[in-house]
Protein backbone atom coordinates (compact mmCIF):
# COMPACT_ATOMS: atom_id res chain seq x y z
CA UNK A 1 0.00 0.00 0.00
CA UNK A 2 0.92 3.62 0.00
CA UNK A 3 2.15 3.69 3.57
CA UNK A 4 5.32 1.65 3.29
CA UNK A 5 7.85 3.06 5.71
CA UNK A 6 11.34 1.85 6.44
CA UNK A 7 11.69 0.49 9.98
CA UNK A 8 14.77 2.66 10.57
CA UNK A 9 12.73 5.85 10.17
CA UNK A 10 11.86 7.80 13.28
CA UNK A 11 8.13 7.95 13.95
CA UNK A 12 6.48 11.13 12.68
CA UNK A 13 3.87 11.22 15.44
CA UNK A 14 4.99 10.08 18.86
CA UNK A 15 3.02 9.23 21.99
CA UNK A 16 1.02 6.33 20.53
CA UNK A 17 -1.78 8.56 19.23
CA UNK A 18 -4.99 7.22 17.69
CA UNK A 19 -6.93 9.14 15.03
CA UNK A 20 -9.31 10.40 17.66
CA UNK A 21 -6.41 11.66 19.80
CA UNK A 22 -5.21 13.73 16.85
CA UNK A 23 -8.63 15.34 16.48
CA UNK A 24 -8.81 16.06 20.21
CA UNK A 25 -5.28 17.42 20.52
CA UNK A 26 -5.58 19.83 17.61
CA UNK A 27 -9.21 20.92 18.16
CA UNK A 28 -8.56 21.56 21.84
CA UNK A 29 -7.01 24.98 21.33
CA UNK A 30 -9.68 26.02 18.83
CA UNK A 31 -12.57 24.99 21.07
CA UNK A 32 -11.26 26.06 24.46
CA UNK A 33 -11.11 29.54 25.96
CA UNK A 34 -8.00 31.48 24.92
CA UNK A 35 -5.17 30.84 27.37
CA UNK A 36 -3.52 33.58 29.41
CA UNK A 37 -0.31 33.25 27.37
CA UNK A 38 -2.26 33.73 24.16
CA UNK A 39 -4.04 36.80 25.49
CA UNK A 40 -0.78 38.41 26.57
CA UNK A 41 0.97 37.59 23.29
CA UNK A 42 -1.99 38.80 21.25
CA UNK A 43 -2.24 41.98 23.30
CA UNK A 44 1.43 42.78 22.81
CA UNK A 45 1.21 42.19 19.07
CA UNK A 46 -1.84 44.44 18.86
CA UNK A 47 0.08 47.24 20.59
CA UNK A 48 3.01 46.77 18.20
CA UNK A 49 0.54 46.75 15.32
CA UNK A 50 -1.09 49.97 16.53
CA UNK A 51 2.24 51.79 16.86
CA UNK A 52 3.29 50.54 13.42
CA UNK A 53 -0.05 51.57 11.96
CA UNK A 54 0.52 55.09 13.26
CA UNK A 55 3.95 55.23 11.59
CA UNK A 56 2.66 53.77 8.34
CA UNK A 57 -0.35 56.08 8.40
CA UNK A 58 1.99 59.05 8.85
CA UNK A 59 4.12 57.80 5.95
CA UNK A 60 1.06 57.54 3.72
CA UNK A 61 -0.18 60.95 4.82
CA UNK A 62 3.09 62.86 4.51
CA UNK A 63 4.72 60.89 1.71
CA UNK A 64 7.95 58.94 1.68
CA UNK A 65 9.95 62.07 2.38
CA UNK A 66 9.67 61.02 6.03
CA UNK A 67 12.00 58.12 5.27
CA UNK A 68 15.77 58.57 5.35
CA UNK A 69 16.15 58.24 1.57
CA UNK A 70 18.27 60.73 -0.36
CA UNK A 71 18.95 61.28 -4.06
CA UNK A 72 21.72 58.67 -4.11
CA UNK A 73 20.10 56.00 -1.98
CA UNK A 74 16.60 55.83 -3.42
CA UNK A 75 15.80 52.33 -2.19
CA UNK A 76 16.68 51.27 1.33
CA UNK A 77 14.59 49.76 4.12
CA UNK A 78 11.40 49.67 2.06
CA UNK A 79 12.72 47.31 -0.58
CA UNK A 80 14.94 45.50 1.93
CA UNK A 81 11.88 44.69 4.03
CA UNK A 82 9.83 43.81 0.98
CA UNK A 83 12.37 41.28 -0.31
CA UNK A 84 12.91 39.94 3.20
CA UNK A 85 9.21 39.25 3.80
CA UNK A 86 8.61 37.78 0.34
CA UNK A 87 11.58 35.49 0.86
CA UNK A 88 10.23 34.36 4.22
CA UNK A 89 6.93 33.62 2.57
CA UNK A 90 8.50 31.14 0.19
CA UNK A 91 9.01 28.43 2.80
CA UNK A 92 5.29 27.76 3.20
CA UNK A 93 4.85 26.95 -0.46
CA UNK A 94 8.09 25.02 -0.52
CA UNK A 95 6.88 22.85 2.35
CA UNK A 96 3.36 22.31 1.11
CA UNK A 97 4.05 22.02 -2.62
CA UNK A 98 7.60 20.86 -3.24
CA UNK A 99 7.67 18.45 -0.31
CA UNK A 100 4.28 17.11 -1.43
CA UNK A 101 5.65 16.40 -4.89
CA UNK A 102 8.65 14.68 -3.29
CA UNK A 103 6.32 12.68 -1.02
CA UNK A 104 7.99 13.92 2.16
CA UNK A 105 5.55 12.81 4.83
CA UNK A 106 7.14 14.87 7.59
CA UNK A 107 5.71 17.97 5.98
CA UNK A 108 2.19 17.08 7.17
CA UNK A 109 2.51 18.45 10.70
CA UNK A 110 4.14 21.72 9.68
CA UNK A 111 2.55 22.65 6.34
CA UNK A 112 -0.55 24.35 7.74
CA UNK A 113 1.27 26.91 9.85
CA UNK A 114 3.97 27.36 7.22
CA UNK A 115 1.34 28.20 4.60
CA UNK A 116 -0.37 30.61 6.97
CA UNK A 117 3.01 32.22 7.51
CA UNK A 118 3.42 32.53 3.73
CA UNK A 119 0.20 34.45 3.35
CA UNK A 120 0.90 36.78 6.27
CA UNK A 121 4.47 37.38 5.12
CA UNK A 122 3.33 38.25 1.59
CA UNK A 123 0.81 40.70 3.07
CA UNK A 124 3.65 42.32 5.04
CA UNK A 125 5.72 42.50 1.85
CA UNK A 126 2.77 44.09 0.05
CA UNK A 127 2.57 46.82 2.71
CA UNK A 128 6.08 47.97 1.72
CA UNK A 129 5.30 47.84 -1.98
CA UNK A 130 2.25 50.01 -1.41
CA UNK A 131 4.12 52.42 0.86
CA UNK A 132 7.07 52.82 -1.49
CA UNK A 133 4.73 53.78 -4.34
CA UNK A 134 4.41 57.09 -2.48
CA UNK A 135 0.77 57.43 -3.47
CA UNK A 136 -0.62 54.03 -2.49
CA UNK A 137 -4.18 54.97 -3.42
CA UNK A 138 -3.05 54.90 -7.04
CA UNK A 139 -1.71 51.33 -6.85
CA UNK A 140 -4.13 50.24 -9.58
CA UNK A 141 -2.03 52.20 -12.06
CA UNK A 142 0.31 49.24 -11.95
CA UNK A 143 -2.45 47.02 -13.36
CA UNK A 144 -3.32 46.85 -17.06
CA UNK A 145 -6.51 48.87 -16.77
CA UNK A 146 -7.68 51.29 -19.43
CA UNK A 147 -7.30 54.71 -17.81
CA UNK A 148 -8.57 58.23 -18.16
CA UNK A 149 -5.42 59.49 -19.88
CA UNK A 150 -6.10 57.67 -23.13
CA UNK A 151 -5.18 54.17 -24.10
CA UNK A 152 -1.96 54.07 -22.14
CA UNK A 153 -1.06 50.66 -20.76
CA UNK A 154 1.51 49.24 -18.36
CA UNK A 155 4.82 48.18 -19.87
CA UNK A 156 4.84 44.39 -19.99
CA UNK A 157 8.58 44.45 -20.75
CA UNK A 158 9.34 45.82 -17.29
CA UNK A 159 10.34 43.56 -14.38
CA UNK A 160 8.43 45.84 -12.03
CA UNK A 161 5.21 44.95 -13.85
CA UNK A 162 6.23 41.27 -13.83
CA UNK A 163 6.56 41.65 -10.08
CA UNK A 164 3.01 43.00 -9.74
CA UNK A 165 1.71 39.93 -11.54
CA UNK A 166 4.00 37.52 -9.71
CA UNK A 167 3.23 38.75 -6.20
CA UNK A 168 -0.52 39.05 -6.72
CA UNK A 169 -0.75 35.62 -8.37
CA UNK A 170 1.37 34.14 -5.62
CA UNK A 171 -0.73 35.66 -2.85
CA UNK A 172 -4.04 34.58 -4.35
CA UNK A 173 -2.93 31.04 -5.32
CA UNK A 174 -1.37 30.51 -1.87
CA UNK A 175 -4.57 31.68 -0.26
CA UNK A 176 -6.63 29.21 -2.31
CA UNK A 177 -4.21 26.36 -1.58
CA UNK A 178 -4.27 27.11 2.13
CA UNK A 179 -8.03 27.49 2.34
CA UNK A 180 -8.67 24.32 0.39
CA UNK A 181 -6.39 22.46 2.80
CA UNK A 182 -8.39 23.88 5.70
CA UNK A 183 -11.82 22.81 4.46
CA UNK A 184 -11.76 19.15 5.66
CA UNK A 185 -10.39 20.22 9.05
CA UNK A 186 -13.01 22.95 9.40
CA UNK A 187 -15.61 20.24 8.75
CA UNK A 188 -14.10 18.23 11.63
CA UNK A 189 -14.48 21.23 13.94
CA UNK A 190 -18.02 21.84 12.64
CA UNK A 191 -19.04 18.27 13.43
CA UNK A 192 -17.72 18.59 17.00
CA UNK A 193 -19.00 22.12 17.61
CA UNK A 194 -20.99 22.73 20.78
CA UNK A 195 -21.77 26.45 20.55
CA UNK A 196 -24.11 28.08 18.06
CA UNK A 197 -21.46 30.52 16.84
CA UNK A 198 -18.95 27.74 16.19
CA UNK A 199 -21.58 25.67 14.36
CA UNK A 200 -22.45 28.66 12.18
CA UNK A 201 -18.96 29.92 11.32
CA UNK A 202 -17.19 26.60 10.90
CA UNK A 203 -20.27 25.32 9.08
CA UNK A 204 -20.20 28.24 6.66
CA UNK A 205 -16.48 28.00 5.94
CA UNK A 206 -16.37 24.20 5.63
CA UNK A 207 -18.58 24.53 2.52
CA UNK A 208 -20.68 21.50 3.42
CA UNK A 209 -17.71 19.13 3.21
CA UNK A 210 -18.67 15.52 3.92
CA UNK A 211 -15.51 13.56 3.13
CA UNK A 212 -17.04 11.23 0.55
CA UNK A 213 -14.69 8.99 -1.40
CA UNK A 214 -15.57 10.81 -4.62
CA UNK A 215 -14.77 14.20 -3.11
CA UNK A 216 -11.48 12.96 -1.71
CA UNK A 217 -10.45 11.45 -5.04
CA UNK A 218 -11.01 14.79 -6.78
CA UNK A 219 -9.49 16.64 -3.86
CA UNK A 220 -6.25 14.72 -4.12
CA UNK A 221 -5.93 15.54 -7.81
CA UNK A 222 -6.62 19.20 -7.09
CA UNK A 223 -3.94 19.30 -4.36
CA UNK A 224 -1.45 17.54 -6.59
CA UNK A 225 -2.03 19.91 -9.51
CA UNK A 226 -1.98 22.95 -7.22
CA UNK A 227 1.34 21.71 -5.85
CA UNK A 228 2.55 21.16 -9.40
CA UNK A 229 1.75 24.71 -10.49
CA UNK A 230 2.79 26.31 -7.19
CA UNK A 231 6.29 24.91 -7.45
CA UNK A 232 7.28 26.81 -10.62
CA UNK A 233 5.19 29.73 -9.33
CA UNK A 234 7.19 30.09 -6.12
CA UNK A 235 10.46 29.82 -8.04
CA UNK A 236 9.22 32.42 -10.54
CA UNK A 237 8.27 34.88 -7.80
CA UNK A 238 11.70 35.26 -6.29
CA UNK A 239 13.31 35.00 -9.72
CA UNK A 240 11.25 38.00 -10.78
CA UNK A 241 12.04 39.83 -7.52
CA UNK A 242 15.73 39.31 -8.29
CA UNK A 243 15.16 40.60 -11.83
CA UNK A 244 13.99 43.92 -10.37
CA UNK A 245 17.68 44.27 -9.58
CA UNK A 246 19.41 42.09 -12.16
CA UNK A 247 17.92 43.78 -15.24
CA UNK A 248 19.20 47.17 -14.09
CA UNK A 249 22.71 48.46 -14.88
CA UNK A 250 23.83 49.10 -11.29
CA UNK A 251 27.13 47.38 -10.44
CA UNK A 252 26.40 44.77 -7.78
CA UNK A 253 22.90 44.18 -9.15
CA UNK A 254 23.54 43.46 -12.80
CA UNK A 255 24.44 39.77 -12.45
CA UNK A 256 23.03 36.59 -13.93
CA UNK A 257 23.51 34.69 -10.66
CA UNK A 258 20.69 36.61 -8.99
CA UNK A 259 17.68 34.37 -9.70
CA UNK A 260 19.04 31.10 -8.22
CA UNK A 261 20.84 33.02 -5.49
CA UNK A 262 17.67 34.83 -4.43
CA UNK A 263 15.56 31.67 -4.54
CA UNK A 264 18.06 29.81 -2.33
CA UNK A 265 18.14 32.76 0.06
CA UNK A 266 14.35 32.84 0.17
CA UNK A 267 14.12 29.16 1.11
CA UNK A 268 16.89 29.65 3.64
CA UNK A 269 15.23 32.54 5.46
CA UNK A 270 11.75 31.07 5.12
CA UNK A 271 12.71 27.78 6.73
CA UNK A 272 14.42 29.69 9.51
CA UNK A 273 11.23 31.67 10.14
CA UNK A 274 9.11 28.49 10.11
CA UNK A 275 11.57 26.99 12.59
CA UNK A 276 11.31 29.99 14.95
CA UNK A 277 7.51 29.95 14.87
CA UNK A 278 7.12 26.20 15.23
CA UNK A 279 9.48 25.97 18.17
CA UNK A 280 7.24 28.47 19.98
CA UNK A 281 3.95 26.97 18.77
CA UNK A 282 4.83 23.43 19.81
CA UNK A 283 5.50 24.54 23.37
CA UNK A 284 2.55 26.93 23.70
CA UNK A 285 0.01 24.45 22.29
CA UNK A 286 1.76 21.35 23.66
CA UNK A 287 2.29 19.80 20.24
CA UNK A 288 5.56 18.03 21.04
CA UNK A 289 4.13 14.71 19.80
CA UNK A 290 3.40 16.18 16.37
CA UNK A 291 6.34 18.51 15.84
CA UNK A 292 9.09 16.19 16.98
CA UNK A 293 12.86 16.50 17.16
CA UNK A 294 12.86 14.66 13.81
CA UNK A 295 10.96 17.57 12.23
CA UNK A 296 13.28 20.12 13.78
CA UNK A 297 16.30 18.23 12.52
CA UNK A 298 14.91 17.98 8.99
CA UNK A 299 14.34 21.73 8.95
CA UNK A 300 17.86 22.35 10.20
CA UNK A 301 19.28 20.18 7.42
CA UNK A 302 17.42 22.23 4.80
CA UNK A 303 18.66 25.43 6.46
CA UNK A 304 22.25 24.17 6.25
CA UNK A 305 21.92 23.14 2.60
CA UNK A 306 20.34 26.39 1.45
CA UNK A 307 22.67 28.44 3.67
CA UNK A 308 25.63 26.79 1.97
CA UNK A 309 24.17 27.54 -1.47
CA UNK A 310 23.84 31.17 -0.44
CA UNK A 311 27.45 31.12 0.82
CA UNK A 312 28.68 29.81 -2.51
CA UNK A 313 26.69 32.53 -4.27
CA UNK A 314 28.41 35.22 -2.16
CA UNK A 315 31.84 33.85 -3.06
CA UNK A 316 30.92 33.45 -6.74
CA UNK A 317 29.80 37.07 -6.91
CA UNK A 318 33.14 38.15 -5.53
CA UNK A 319 35.08 35.94 -7.90
CA UNK A 320 33.14 37.16 -10.94
CA UNK A 321 33.55 40.81 -9.89
CA UNK A 322 37.32 40.28 -10.09
CA UNK A 323 37.35 37.86 -13.03
CA UNK A 324 35.09 40.01 -15.24
CA UNK A 325 37.67 42.78 -15.20
CA UNK A 326 34.93 45.39 -14.83
CA UNK A 327 36.40 47.95 -12.44
CA UNK A 328 33.03 49.33 -11.29
CA UNK A 329 31.88 45.83 -10.39
CA UNK A 330 35.15 45.12 -8.55
CA UNK A 331 34.95 48.39 -6.66
CA UNK A 332 31.38 47.71 -5.62
CA UNK A 333 32.36 44.43 -3.99
CA UNK A 334 35.52 45.73 -2.36
CA UNK A 335 33.43 48.59 -1.03
CA UNK A 336 30.87 46.15 0.35
CA UNK A 337 33.43 44.21 2.35
CA UNK A 338 35.75 47.05 3.40
CA UNK A 339 33.81 50.30 2.84
CA UNK A 340 31.67 52.22 5.33
CA UNK A 341 29.08 49.42 5.35
CA UNK A 342 31.63 46.72 6.18
CA UNK A 343 29.78 45.88 9.40
CA UNK A 344 26.57 45.05 7.52
CA UNK A 345 28.51 42.88 5.10
CA UNK A 346 30.29 40.90 7.80
CA UNK A 347 27.08 40.60 9.80
CA UNK A 348 25.54 38.97 6.74
CA UNK A 349 28.55 36.68 6.20
CA UNK A 350 28.64 35.55 9.82
CA UNK A 351 24.92 34.98 10.23
CA UNK A 352 24.23 33.34 6.87
CA UNK A 353 27.36 31.44 5.94
CA UNK A 354 29.18 30.59 9.15
CA UNK A 355 26.42 30.09 11.74
CA UNK A 356 24.37 27.43 9.85
CA UNK A 357 27.53 25.32 9.53
CA UNK A 358 27.12 24.51 13.23
CA UNK A 359 24.27 22.25 12.14
CA UNK A 360 26.81 19.71 10.85
CA UNK A 361 26.85 18.47 14.46
CA UNK A 362 23.90 16.22 15.24
CA UNK A 363 23.81 17.40 18.86
CA UNK A 364 23.32 21.01 17.72
CA UNK A 365 20.77 20.02 15.08
CA UNK A 366 18.69 18.34 17.74
CA UNK A 367 19.02 21.05 20.37
CA UNK A 368 15.84 23.08 20.59
CA UNK A 369 17.47 26.12 22.18
CA UNK A 370 20.32 26.32 19.66
CA UNK A 371 17.92 25.72 16.76
CA UNK A 372 15.78 28.61 17.93
CA UNK A 373 18.71 30.99 18.40
CA UNK A 374 20.23 30.09 15.03
CA UNK A 375 16.90 30.43 13.24
CA UNK A 376 16.63 34.00 14.50
CA UNK A 377 20.29 34.65 13.65
CA UNK A 378 19.67 33.45 10.08
CA UNK A 379 16.79 35.86 9.63
CA UNK A 380 18.84 38.73 10.98
CA UNK A 381 21.54 37.75 8.48
CA UNK A 382 19.09 37.56 5.61
CA UNK A 383 17.77 41.03 6.39
CA UNK A 384 21.34 42.32 6.26
CA UNK A 385 21.90 40.50 2.97
CA UNK A 386 19.13 42.51 1.30
CA UNK A 387 20.31 45.70 2.98
CA UNK A 388 23.86 45.09 1.73
CA UNK A 389 22.72 44.31 -1.81
CA UNK A 390 20.48 47.37 -2.00
CA UNK A 391 22.18 50.11 -0.02
CA UNK A 392 25.85 49.26 -0.48
CA UNK A 393 25.37 49.05 -4.27
CA UNK A 394 23.65 52.41 -4.41
CA UNK A 395 25.41 54.62 -1.89
CA UNK A 396 28.60 55.07 -3.91
CA UNK A 397 27.58 55.56 -7.52
CA UNK A 398 29.61 56.63 -10.54
CA UNK A 399 29.98 60.24 -9.35
CA UNK A 400 31.98 60.56 -6.10
CA UNK A 401 30.46 64.00 -5.40
CA UNK A 402 27.07 62.36 -4.90
CA UNK A 403 28.26 59.56 -2.61
CA UNK A 404 26.06 59.35 0.45
CA UNK A 405 25.12 57.23 3.45
CA UNK A 406 21.69 56.08 4.49
CA UNK A 407 20.32 56.77 7.98
CA UNK A 408 16.89 55.38 8.87
CA UNK A 409 14.35 57.69 10.48
CA UNK A 410 11.79 56.63 13.08
CA UNK A 411 9.32 56.09 10.22
CA UNK A 412 11.64 53.66 8.44
CA UNK A 413 11.84 51.75 11.69
CA UNK A 414 8.15 52.25 12.49
CA UNK A 415 7.02 50.84 9.14
CA UNK A 416 9.20 47.80 9.74
CA UNK A 417 7.63 47.44 13.19
CA UNK A 418 4.22 47.66 11.50
CA UNK A 419 4.98 44.58 9.46
CA UNK A 420 5.89 42.62 12.60
CA UNK A 421 2.70 43.78 14.30
CA UNK A 422 0.63 42.75 11.29
CA UNK A 423 2.38 39.41 10.98
CA UNK A 424 2.07 38.37 14.61
CA UNK A 425 -1.48 39.67 15.06
CA UNK A 426 -2.59 37.59 12.08
CA UNK A 427 -0.54 34.59 13.21
CA UNK A 428 -2.03 34.61 16.72
CA UNK A 429 -5.56 34.93 15.32
CA UNK A 430 -4.83 31.99 13.03
CA UNK A 431 -3.41 29.94 15.90
CA UNK A 432 -6.50 30.52 18.03
CA UNK A 433 -9.31 30.10 15.53
CA UNK A 434 -7.97 27.61 13.02
CA UNK A 435 -6.31 24.21 13.46
CA UNK A 436 -2.55 24.82 13.47
CA UNK A 437 -1.84 21.29 12.29
CA UNK A 438 -3.38 19.67 9.25
CA UNK A 439 -5.35 16.94 11.01
CA UNK A 440 -6.44 14.93 8.00
CA UNK A 441 -2.97 14.82 6.50
CA UNK A 442 -1.41 13.78 9.79
CA UNK A 443 -4.01 11.03 10.13
CA UNK A 444 -3.27 9.84 6.62
CA UNK A 445 0.42 9.27 7.33
CA UNK A 446 0.04 7.75 10.79
CA UNK A 447 -0.17 4.13 9.75
CA UNK A 448 3.31 2.70 9.84
CA UNK A 449 4.83 5.92 11.14
CA UNK A 450 2.98 6.38 14.42
CA UNK A 451 4.12 4.18 17.25
CA UNK A 452 0.51 3.05 17.67
CA UNK A 453 0.06 1.42 14.32
CA UNK A 454 2.55 -1.39 13.57
CA UNK A 455 0.81 -3.61 16.14
CA UNK A 456 -2.59 -2.74 14.77
CA UNK A 457 -1.61 -3.58 11.21
CA UNK A 458 -0.75 -7.15 12.20
CA UNK A 459 -4.02 -7.67 14.03
CA UNK A 460 -6.07 -6.51 11.08
CA UNK A 461 -4.26 -9.05 8.89
CA UNK A 462 -5.66 -12.08 10.69
CA UNK A 463 -9.36 -12.72 10.84
CA UNK A 464 -9.83 -12.27 14.59
CA UNK A 465 -10.53 -8.52 14.12
CA UNK A 466 -9.29 -7.50 17.52
CA UNK A 467 -9.06 -3.79 17.96
CA UNK A 468 -5.84 -2.66 19.56
CA UNK A 469 -6.36 0.89 20.69
Amino acid sequence: MSHVVSPIRETLVSGGKSYHDVTNDICKQVEGEPTKEWKIAFGVSCIVFAYGAYCLGYTWWQGIGVWGLNKTVGWAWDITNFVWWVGIGHAGTLISAVLLLFRQKWRTSINRSAEAMTIFAVLCAASFILAHMGRPWLFHWALPLPNTFGSLWVNFNSPLVWDVFAISTYLSVSLVFWYLGLVPDLATIRDRAQTKAAKFWYGAFSLGWNGSAKTWARYEYVSLILAGISTPLVLSVHTIVSMDFATSVIPGWHTTIFPPYFVAGAIFSGFAMVQSLLLITRVVFKLEDYITIEHIEMMNIIITVTGSIVGIAYLTEFFIAWYSGVEYESYCFINRATGPYWWAYWMMMTCNVISPQLFWFKKIRQSILVSFILSVVVNVGMWFERFVIIVSSLHRDYLPSSWAMFTPTMYDIGDYIFSFGLFFTLFFLFAKFLPVINMFEVKSVMRGVSTNFPAKKKSSGDKSKETVH
Binding site: S18, Y19, T23, P144, S151, W153, N155, F156, N157, P159, V161, W162, F165, A166, T169, S172, V173, V176, F177, L180, V183, P184, A187, T188, R190, D191, R192, G203, A204, L207, G208, W209, N210, G211, S212, A213, K214, T215, W216, A217, R218, E220, Y221, V222, I225, L226, I229, S230, P232, L233, S236, M243, M439, E441, K443, S444, R447, K457, S460, T467
Partner: protein
Protein backbone atom coordinates in the same frame (compact mmCIF):
# COMPACT_ATOMS: atom_id res chain seq x y z
CA UNK B 1 -40.37 8.51 -5.66
CA UNK B 2 -40.56 8.19 -1.91
CA UNK B 3 -39.76 11.42 -0.09
CA UNK B 4 -37.69 9.70 2.60
CA UNK B 5 -34.49 7.93 1.69
CA UNK B 6 -33.51 5.01 3.89
CA UNK B 7 -29.86 4.11 4.38
CA UNK B 8 -27.99 1.40 6.21
CA UNK B 9 -24.82 2.89 7.63
CA UNK B 10 -21.86 0.65 8.43
CA UNK B 11 -19.28 2.14 10.80
CA UNK B 12 -15.66 0.98 10.51
CA UNK B 13 -12.76 2.06 12.67
CA UNK B 14 -9.78 1.31 10.46
CA UNK B 15 -8.81 2.67 7.05
CA UNK B 16 -7.36 -0.57 5.65
CA UNK B 17 -10.32 -2.57 6.90
CA UNK B 18 -12.82 -0.34 5.18
CA UNK B 19 -10.90 -0.64 1.92
CA UNK B 20 -11.08 -4.45 2.09
CA UNK B 21 -14.68 -4.28 3.26
CA UNK B 22 -15.74 -2.30 0.18
CA UNK B 23 -14.60 -5.12 -2.09
CA UNK B 24 -16.16 -7.80 0.14
CA UNK B 25 -19.50 -6.03 0.39
CA UNK B 26 -19.59 -5.40 -3.35
CA UNK B 27 -18.77 -9.03 -4.07
CA UNK B 28 -21.72 -10.11 -1.92
CA UNK B 29 -23.96 -8.20 -4.32
CA UNK B 30 -24.66 -5.06 -2.26
CA UNK B 31 -24.55 -1.70 -4.03
CA UNK B 32 -22.60 0.84 -1.97
CA UNK B 33 -23.77 4.43 -2.31
CA UNK B 34 -20.69 6.13 -0.89
CA UNK B 35 -17.97 5.83 1.76
CA UNK B 36 -17.16 8.80 4.02
CA UNK B 37 -13.70 9.00 5.55
CA UNK B 38 -11.78 11.49 7.71
CA UNK B 39 -8.84 11.43 5.29
CA UNK B 40 -8.18 10.26 1.73
CA UNK B 41 -7.68 6.52 1.29
CA UNK B 42 -5.90 5.64 -1.94
CA UNK B 43 -7.86 3.32 -4.18
CA UNK B 44 -11.14 3.68 -2.29
CA UNK B 45 -12.93 5.48 -5.12
CA UNK B 46 -11.76 2.81 -7.58
CA UNK B 47 -12.90 0.04 -5.23
CA UNK B 48 -16.37 1.58 -4.90
CA UNK B 49 -16.52 1.90 -8.67
CA UNK B 50 -16.54 5.67 -9.10
CA UNK B 51 -15.40 6.81 -12.54
CA UNK B 52 -11.99 8.47 -12.76
CA UNK B 53 -12.10 12.20 -12.10
CA UNK B 54 -11.73 14.59 -15.06
CA UNK B 55 -10.47 17.47 -12.91
CA UNK B 56 -6.98 17.40 -14.54
CA UNK B 57 -8.58 17.97 -17.96
CA UNK B 58 -10.46 20.97 -16.58
CA UNK B 59 -7.22 22.29 -15.08
CA UNK B 60 -5.42 21.96 -18.41
CA UNK B 61 -8.19 23.72 -20.30
CA UNK B 62 -8.27 26.58 -17.80
CA UNK B 63 -4.48 26.86 -18.16
CA UNK B 64 -4.85 27.12 -21.95
CA UNK B 65 -7.58 29.73 -21.52
CA UNK B 66 -5.38 31.73 -19.13
CA UNK B 67 -2.41 31.68 -21.46
CA UNK B 68 -4.56 32.74 -24.39
CA UNK B 69 -6.23 35.59 -22.48
CA UNK B 70 -3.10 37.06 -20.95
CA UNK B 71 -1.05 36.68 -24.12
CA UNK B 72 -3.77 38.33 -26.19
CA UNK B 73 -3.92 41.21 -23.71
CA UNK B 74 -0.15 41.78 -23.85
CA UNK B 75 -0.10 41.49 -27.61
CA UNK B 76 -3.02 43.89 -27.99
CA UNK B 77 -1.60 46.54 -25.65
CA UNK B 78 2.07 46.32 -26.69
CA UNK B 79 1.75 45.81 -30.45
CA UNK B 80 -1.61 47.21 -31.58
CA UNK B 81 -3.15 49.66 -29.14
CA UNK B 82 -0.19 51.72 -27.98
CA UNK B 83 3.14 50.47 -29.34
CA UNK B 84 6.18 51.93 -27.59
CA UNK B 85 9.81 51.65 -28.58
CA UNK B 86 11.63 50.32 -25.53
CA UNK B 87 15.38 49.91 -25.82
CA UNK B 88 15.05 49.62 -29.60
CA UNK B 89 13.36 46.25 -29.25
CA UNK B 90 10.60 44.83 -31.41
CA UNK B 91 7.09 45.68 -30.31
CA UNK B 92 6.52 41.94 -30.28
CA UNK B 93 9.15 41.25 -27.56
CA UNK B 94 8.29 37.64 -26.87
CA UNK B 95 10.95 36.77 -24.22
CA UNK B 96 9.89 39.71 -22.07
CA UNK B 97 6.32 38.49 -22.07
CA UNK B 98 7.09 35.04 -20.68
CA UNK B 99 6.90 35.95 -16.96
CA UNK B 100 3.49 37.62 -17.10
CA UNK B 101 2.11 34.95 -19.47
CA UNK B 102 3.27 32.29 -17.03
CA UNK B 103 1.72 33.98 -14.01
CA UNK B 104 -1.57 34.43 -15.87
CA UNK B 105 -1.61 30.76 -16.83
CA UNK B 106 -1.04 29.69 -13.23
CA UNK B 107 -3.71 32.07 -11.94
CA UNK B 108 -6.38 30.82 -14.34
CA UNK B 109 -5.43 27.17 -13.77
CA UNK B 110 -5.64 27.46 -9.99
CA UNK B 111 -8.88 29.39 -9.79
CA UNK B 112 -10.54 27.54 -12.67
CA UNK B 113 -9.63 24.14 -11.26
CA UNK B 114 -10.65 24.93 -7.68
CA UNK B 115 -13.89 26.49 -8.95
CA UNK B 116 -14.62 23.35 -10.98
CA UNK B 117 -13.87 21.23 -7.92
CA UNK B 118 -16.29 23.19 -5.74
CA UNK B 119 -19.03 23.16 -8.36
CA UNK B 120 -18.66 19.46 -9.22
CA UNK B 121 -18.86 18.48 -5.54
CA UNK B 122 -21.55 21.13 -4.92
CA UNK B 123 -19.61 22.75 -2.10
CA UNK B 124 -20.53 26.31 -1.21
CA UNK B 125 -20.43 28.53 1.88
CA UNK B 126 -23.23 27.71 4.25
CA UNK B 127 -24.21 24.43 2.59
CA UNK B 128 -25.67 21.88 5.00
CA UNK B 129 -24.00 18.53 4.38
CA UNK B 130 -25.92 15.28 4.34
CA UNK B 131 -24.25 13.77 7.39
CA UNK B 132 -24.53 10.03 7.86
CA UNK B 133 -22.43 9.96 11.00
CA UNK B 134 -20.75 12.90 12.72
CA UNK B 135 -17.69 10.78 13.47
CA UNK B 136 -16.82 10.48 9.77
CA UNK B 137 -14.73 13.64 10.03
CA UNK B 138 -13.01 12.40 13.18
CA UNK B 139 -11.90 8.76 13.30
CA UNK B 140 -14.63 6.55 11.81
CA UNK B 141 -15.05 5.30 8.26
CA UNK B 142 -18.68 5.31 7.20
CA UNK B 143 -20.18 3.09 4.49
CA UNK B 144 -23.63 4.18 3.31
CA UNK B 145 -25.92 1.71 1.53
CA UNK B 146 -29.04 3.13 -0.10
CA UNK B 147 -31.91 0.70 0.47
CA UNK B 148 -33.74 1.95 -2.63
CA UNK B 149 -30.91 0.65 -4.83
CA UNK B 150 -30.70 -2.79 -3.22
CA UNK B 151 -32.98 -5.79 -3.49
CA UNK B 152 -31.56 -7.62 -0.46
CA UNK B 153 -33.34 -7.30 2.89
CA UNK B 154 -32.02 -5.02 5.60
CA UNK B 155 -31.14 -7.93 7.86
CA UNK B 156 -29.12 -9.53 5.07
CA UNK B 157 -27.18 -6.38 4.30
CA UNK B 158 -26.57 -5.75 7.98
CA UNK B 159 -25.02 -9.18 8.40
CA UNK B 160 -22.86 -8.66 5.29
CA UNK B 161 -21.60 -5.34 6.69
CA UNK B 162 -20.93 -6.88 10.10
CA UNK B 163 -19.11 -9.82 8.52
CA UNK B 164 -16.85 -7.47 6.60
CA UNK B 165 -15.76 -5.72 9.80
CA UNK B 166 -18.30 -3.00 10.64
CA UNK B 167 -18.36 -2.28 14.37
CA UNK B 168 -21.88 -0.84 14.21
CA UNK B 169 -24.66 -0.78 11.65
CA UNK B 170 -27.21 2.04 11.97
CA UNK B 171 -30.28 3.13 10.05
CA UNK B 172 -30.38 6.68 8.75
CA UNK B 173 -33.33 8.39 7.06
CA UNK B 174 -33.35 11.70 5.22
Amino acid sequence: MDSTERYLVGVFDDDEEVLHAVTEVKNSGVKIEEVFTPFPIHGLDVAIGHPRTRIPIAAFLFGCLGLTCIFSLINYTMVFDWPMIIGGKDFFALPDWIPVSFEGTVLFTAFGMVGTFLVSNSLWPGKQPKTFDLRSTDDKFIMAVNMANNKKSEAEIESILKASGAIEVNVKQF
